[in-house]
């Protein structure tokens, strides 16, 4: 006669059975990057690609080249955690390619941008988690748990807070 624990394990692993048994709970610890005084930046590598301006080509890379010559050493000094790679690419518009720790690669086109704009894009990529821009429509950076259910005009009833809910 199986114990309840063994029986549950058998039901969970049984092939062909409709899995209505809850899966085993994930008990792994959770990381909070930056909460314990140590922060590991998410970006690993930044590749800057440009086509050098010359007669008849490369005009859209002027800003990028100005950034490379004037500001890049300072950026590299300030951000030692990024592997920065500069690569010329013939007949290709200038762009940035950022690789993140999750393996995600983000490509940001820089054609026709000024050095300041390229610097802003570089800073955004280096500070970002995956290079995606996120618009927080609610205007609050952190959304409280259950905000949709609790703050409605007529909130969902639950017995634990029924008495404390104001009903005009």
């Amino acid at each position: 006669m199986s114990t309840p624990r063994e029986l549950i394990r058998k039901l969970q692993n049984a092939p062909g059975l409709a899995k209505r048994i809850l899966p085993v709970k994930d008990l792994t610890s959770r990381g909070h990057n930056g909460a314990g005084l140590t922060f590991v930046p998410h970006i690993t590598k930044l590749v800057l690609r440009y086509d050098h301006p010359r007669l008849g080509a490369g005009g859209s890379s002027t800003g990028m080249v100005a950034f490379l010559t004037s500001q890049l050493p300072a950026v590299a000094r300030a951000r030692p955690y990024v592997e920065i790679c500069v690569q010329p690419r013939n007949a290709v518009p200038p762009h940035l390619l950022a690789t993140y720790a999750s393996g995600k690669k983000t490509l940001v086109p820089c054609a026709g941008l000024s050095a300041k704009e390229v610097a802003a894009k570089v800073a955004f990529l280096c500070d970002s988690m995956d290079g995606e821009e996120r618009n927080v429509k609610s205007g609050r950076p952190v959304l409280t748990a259950g905000h949709q259910l609790a703050e409605r005009v007529d909130p969902v009833w639950d017995p634990f807070t029924a008495e404390h809910t104001f009903r005009p």
Binding site: R30, E83, P88, P159
Partner: protein, 312 residues
């Protein structure tokens, strides 16, 4: 991107040597003379294909690990700055980052991996056993596993970007190879072992405290085996020479409705040791017993001295 011959252009960038002022920044080898327009059509720049494309996987080398080109210096320097993992030489770092699946004769990292696993286990167990002095052994083992088990080490290794820096069997191809996360966990353990041997116990313990013990557990009660909390609680109170616990109904609402709520408190004499709510009286009593057990077993101590302080 396919590699194309870079254009001859005005001298743009100085070449940096390995280990220069900005080790994490490497430039392409530039031309040192400005070309005339007709020279643009000729190709004479003898750049290695490695510098023009993403770094090709290096073939399995022998036991000597000398760094060959700036891509590697930059990658390792960035890794060091990102993780705070500082060893005495890049060779040690490279050895630790080479998994045994990379090629034949890669024993060093396997030894580091074993040592790193033991060191991690030691420092985390030591810390947690003093932080929760009343926790039962099985629960403590489960909590330690949550911090240093495969899942946790994999997550920390992905956070560090170890799979992008390590050398393993998947480095020989650009195609996706199975088992990257597990190998990443092995390499992280090998890094810890290398740090322990190279930098000593103090640096390793600081590293582990910063990156592993800063993690948190969502629900500690899930690590406790609570099949029969009430008899367990009775036995616990007997062991502690306390009055036998009695459960009392504190509050209730909606008894005959479809969503009743009962609030039960467990009392050892006059002292309330646990409280729980539920939709039936027995469910509430169960919840209260669980609460009482958790309050006792998961008592946290804030400031304590570690036994390894004396040996560091």
């Amino acid at each position: 991107m396919a590699s194309r011959t870079p254009p001859l252009c005005a001298p743009l960038l100085r070449r940096t040597r390995c280990g220069g002022p900005f080790p994490s920044l490497h430039y392409l080898r530039a031309v040192h003379t400005s070309p005339l327009p007709h020279q643009l059509q000729q190709s004479p720049i003898a750049l290695s294909s490695r510098t023009a494309t993403t770094p090709s996987p290096s073939p399995p080398s022998t036991t000597t690990t000398t760094i060959r080109h700036p891509h590697e210096t930059a990658r390792l320097a960035a890794f060091t700055a990102r993780t705070g993992f500082a060893v005495s030489s890049p060779e040690v770092l490279k050895q630790a980052l080479t998994h045994r699946s990379y090629g034949p004769g890669k024993d060093a990292s396997a030894r580091f991996e074993y040592l790193g696993e033991r060191v991690l286990d030691l420092y985390v167990t030591e810390h947690l056993s003093l932080k929760y002095p009343d926790m039962p052994a099985r629960a403590l083992a489960s909590v330690v596993r949550a911090y240093v088990g495969d899942n946790a080490v994999q997550k920390v290794s992905v956070q560090f970007g170890v799979p992008l820096v390590m050398r393993w069997k998947g480095s020989h191809t650009t195609a996706q190879v199975e088992g990257q996360k597990a190998v990443g966990a092995s390499v992280l353990r090998s890094l810890l072992g290398a740090l322990y041997v190279d930098q000593g116990a103090a640096a390793t313990r600081r590293f582990i405290h910063a990156h592993f013990l800063s993690r948190t557990i969502d629900d500690l009660s899930a690590h406790l085996s609570l099949t029969n909390p009430m008899p367990t609680l009775v036995r616990l109170t007997q062991r502690l020479d306390k009055i036998r616990p009695v459960s009392r109904l504190l509050q209730e609402t909606g008894r005959l409705s479809s969503a009743p709520v009962f609030l039960v408190g467990i009392y050892s004499g006059l002292e309330k040791i646990g409280e729980g709510a539920g939709s039936s009286k027995s469910a509430a009593e169960h919840s209260a017993a669980v609460n009482a057990l958790c309050k006792y077993y998961f008592r946290e101590v804030k400031d304590f001295a570690l036994p390894s302080d004396s040996s560091i």
